[in-house]
Subunit: 196 residues, 2 copies
DNA sequence: CCTGAAAGCTCTACAGC
DNA sequence: GCTGTAGAGCTTTCAGG
């Protein structure tokens, strides 16, 4: 029930190509009626697989400063704070936090915005080191690779099949493959929460 | 004509939030009729500002390996080749090429895929250095910052106002602020093409 | 560059299997 | 979980300003 089948994958692929495509058209493509497609899309949204429908914008055509990658090493313990600060700015489009001190961010910003970011917004004491690199070219390939498109158990990592459990905690959905993983996950979750 | 006004920005913002929103609803929001919104969206597509309508997928919920950032320093002259190779793989979702030797890539890949990438696909001679980092957390904030949302002249960089020129070359659209920038751009383009 | 009306499609219940 | 149907609602074209 929690598992995605080939039809779900096809639907995701068709919607990635054009999110405004009609459910009727998608239905014809995958061999289902429009209402069935609609139901499946709704389910995919509830599962949290589809976070939303959005635009693929060509930002290079829009004049909002240069395309830039930031590579930042935060001081131990400051990673969250740095990532948080970066996310506050509209011109920062991606923030990727690696497990080390490293944070990689990407966005369109001009010199003024960069100066503001590093000289005022970010606490110098929370940065170990950083590099600002202008981007020559960037590409994004949205892709849904059919083969391994199944949900992953939040506790043990195995794929979730029939009989899986879905739990909603603090507005986020988690999927588990069985009830024992569910209770382990709940425990772990509570501990994490108390620690924070 | 080539310029974007505040209403265009609002429309872009609303569509970024939900690309399946109806044109009627958007029209009510921005104070236009549905047909006008439809026309503007069409124009934004023709201008190349909207590349398409797509999904925001939560890939972390899909079992396709770990979320990974790759930081690669290509040897001088090999940047294009390395970026090309990275893009060939479905599991590589973003490729950002900085002006230096540095290439940053992001995607979901397991150990097997990583090994294949670095041991077989990429020529070791074209790499100076690289780091593979697992991602703890990542976020993406699609954003359209109203203030400077105007098209930028492909030749001189100034905003394109009324009287701008749009040129289509090899399936890509370029915007210029005036006819002199247009001829300069055409020259430059031909040279670049011959060089390649 | 806009609107309003009208025709044609699309979506979404809902009943039934 | 799927289909067909039917009413509501949306998109799009077109005439007109």
């Amino acid at each position: 029930m929690t598992e995605l089948d080939d039809t779900d994958t096809e639907i995701l692929q068709l919607l990635m190509e054009d999110a405004r495509r009609s459910y009727k058209e998608i239905g014809e493509e995958v061999g289902l009626s429009a209402p069935s497609v609609s139901n499946r899309v709704e389910r995919l949204e509830e599962l949290g697989v589809i976070r939303g429908f959005t635009l693929d914008l060509d930002r290079s055509v829009l004049a909002t400063g240069d395309e830039v990658v930031l590579e930042i090493d935060a001081r131990p313990g400051s990673g969250d704070e740095v990532a948080e600060t970066l996310r506050e700015f509209d011109f920062v489009e991606h923030v990727v936090r690696a497990i080390d001190p490293r944070i990689v961010a990407y966005g369109h910003m001009d010199d003024r915005e960069l100066r503001h970011l590093f000289e005022e917004a970010l606490d110098p004491d929370s940065l170990e080191d950083y590099a600002i690199r202008k981007v020559a070219e960037s590409s994004w390939q949205p892709n849904v690779d059919g083969a391994d498109l199944a949900l992953e158990c939040a506790e043990c990592g195995k794929p979730v099949h029939e009989g899986g459990v879905t739990v909603e905690m603090d507005d986020r959905r988690y999927h588990m493959c069985c009830t024992s993983c569910e209770s382990l996950f709940r425990e772990r979750y509570e501990e994490l929460k108390e620690a924070a």
